[in-house]
Assembly symmetry: C2
């Protein structure tokens, strides 16, 4: 068996939202199709992958470095020992040949896109949903049948702040979400506090609201927000400071009793391990949001899970960034704490299978082999239109 | 005044060398020309930039994100308040708009290429060599007239190990270098020790030999090498472990009394600051090798220098990776400890002005305005052939 072809395209996911750090008016993603010569249901198996929002498409790195390395490799170096499936770990090693250590950005996205397509193909070849395959391989067969999801949004609406914010949040609740997340740090302090109080008025309790500063604050500002928000008992306080400023996280964790969340802008096992080692985070409450689609894929995410375990963290503390079906499969298969969801943006890459519904803040997964893209009609239609 | 055009090209710097981590058979660099409408000596000023070896060309990121942002900006946002020159800091902010925090790799190279061209243009417009401009702006006018350089090489020669290694090292000494650096970690332990002893036999004392493991070792191996090499009194022991594994650096520094060196694979102020905070390095001996051409340019390198100062480090502890004229100007202008040099590889991007010679391990700089590319005939000929 072998990989016959790998195609990639860049697609716009521009939207008019902005967080405290960037706007998304020129945001793009890479989409990839990995064609094999394995026949299932009368057709060759094709795996699909894409990256999540926030870090731009990586077509050139895919075309110049990662796809050529795979296509130039002896096909035997890309498959399992018993030769009945692709081996994501061996493919990963082939991709990362002649890449120096350190500098984990951009290329981590390109590799993540390929890795997603590889796992989609592997699960299709094995005839199982990916979450079931992962549970069988890594969790003694035990999969979660439903996964906690929360609605990420709470954007700024210049000129019609609280009214639009309330409409947006009410929408999430009526869709079945129990926990919502909103942006902070894009307005003045007092206005942010008013916005939080407004949403709390809707959801009722702090446990149902998370806030996200997108790494914008310096330490004194982060501490000031923490002090002002302490009384709300929020679900978590996300990316208070620069994602690599471990010392400031540690300082903040010494004073803020509620949960902190971070990790969506750490793209390697080494960076995630540094977070655990140096950021003073607390395994009994804090949330880790590393996104496999941006950080060298599931192969690297499994290394992160090993590092977590070694430092006494449960996989339940992980709720990946990204809002895609890939991370949803990881959550159900590896027993993570949940998954992000963006109900209104980044379509059709964000979101879940058409047949699944949010119920009381949880969602199930379809039984189709692979990641389940074929169960999300707008996404699979787009993918098929890209690759003819 | 304004930027009229920015052109970029990818150039191969393939070579048959390999270190303990990668081979360089497909290595590329980006070269960039930044055209202004400022006239000096009867011609419009053009600044040139490129990235150093090891991390590949970044043409697509330049074309898709960084160059369009500059060209789309109001020209007034790119120049100094008194409107007589470009402002590298303002240009940097324009380039990094809509880039999320964290993930410092690849894009740090693209931004570094542009930043080099900007500083070349700024110094040409001011009519000074860059090192003199930097000394005037940041060091009260005091520039070093000569800079310590060392010859980096000491590659593996399969089948004819010690003989070829001796020839290579003898070549560096006869060119005027006093300190040489060789690779370790690409062979078995005992063979590496023999190779070190062979080169020590040539250079005479440990102070004249550095060794480079290119981040390949795990901690036990790094410690074992350190113990075996302690008696040699080497100049430094470079990249013993993964560049982001600060805890292992700290453990190694507790036991190895000689100097450690690292930093060439840390590409941001945040990563460099983490190294200073968490890696247990010693300001009285260890060497920091961050390379401005790979890490968001001189604008970011100045931030790193601030972080160093805040933690009690002298700029003399910095000897940048890369072997290019840009870092040589920074060394002379900011008072760094020296600069790397690759006498036999990465030409014509590596190396210094034709008129300058290595004498007793030091080199001077030409008086031409800018970085001095026009004083290196093979380089400027190549650059001009690329951009017509």
């Amino acid at each position: 068996m072998r990989i016959v072809d790998i195609q990639e395209k860049t697609v716009s996911i521009a939207s008019d939202i902005r967080n405290a750090y960037i706007d998304f008016s020129k945001m793009t993603v890479s989409v990839l199709a990995l064609h094999t010569d394995v026949i299932r249901d009368g057709r060759p198996v094709v795996g699909y992958g894409f990256n999540s929002n926030g870090r731009y498409a990586q077509g050139a790195l895919l075309r110049e470095r990662f796809i050529p390395r795979i296509m130039a490799a002896d096909p035997k170096r890309l498959i399992c020992k018993d030769e009945n499936n692709l081996d994501p770990f061996r493919i990963w090693d082939v991709m990362m040949a002649n890449e120096k250590p350190g500098g984990h950005g951009e290329r981590s996205v390109a590799v993540g896109v390929v890795d997603m397509a590889v796992w989609d193909a592997v699960a299709k070849i094995e005839g199982k949903p990916l979450y079931r395959l992962l549970a069988d391989r890594y969790r003694g067969g035990k999969a979660d049948e439903r996964v906690f999801v929360y609605a990420a949004g709470g954007y700024y609406y210049p000129g019609k702040e609280l009214g639009e914010l309330r409409v947006e949040m009410q929408g999430y609740l009526s869709m079945g979400y129990r926990v919502v997340k909103m942006k902070i740090g894009g307005a003045k302090f007092q206005e942010d506090i008013r916005r939080i109080e407004c949403v709390l008025g809707l959801v009722g309790e702090g446990e149902r609201l998370a806030v996200d500063a997108n790494g914008r604050f310096d330490l004194p500002t982060a501490v000031a927000y923490g002090k002002a928000m302490a009384r709300f008992g929020l679900r978590w306080y996300e990316e208070p400071v620069d994602p690599l400023d471990y010392a400031s996280h540690a300082e903040l964790a010494r004073g803020y009793e509620g949960a902190l969340a971070t990790g969506e802008n750490l793209f390697s096992f080494q960076d995630a391990r540094n977070l655990l080692r140096h950021a003073g985070l607390r395994p009994d409450r804090d949330i880790l949001q590393m996104d496999p689609a941006l950080s060298y894929g599931l192969v690297e995410y499994l290394r992160m899970q090993e590092a977590l375990k070694a430092q006494g963290w449960s996989p339940r503390r992980c709720i990946p960034h990204g809002g895609h079906q890939f991370a949803l499969n990881l959550a159900a298969g590896l027993g993570l704490g949940g998954n992000e969801s963006y109900p209104f943006v980044f379509a059709p890459f964000g979101g879940f299978a058409d047949s699944t519904r949010i119920e009381d803040g949880y969602i199930g997964l379809p039984k189709t082999p692979g990641i389940g893209f074929e169960e999300k009609s707008k996404l699979i239609d787009l993918i098929r239109s890209l690759f003819g």
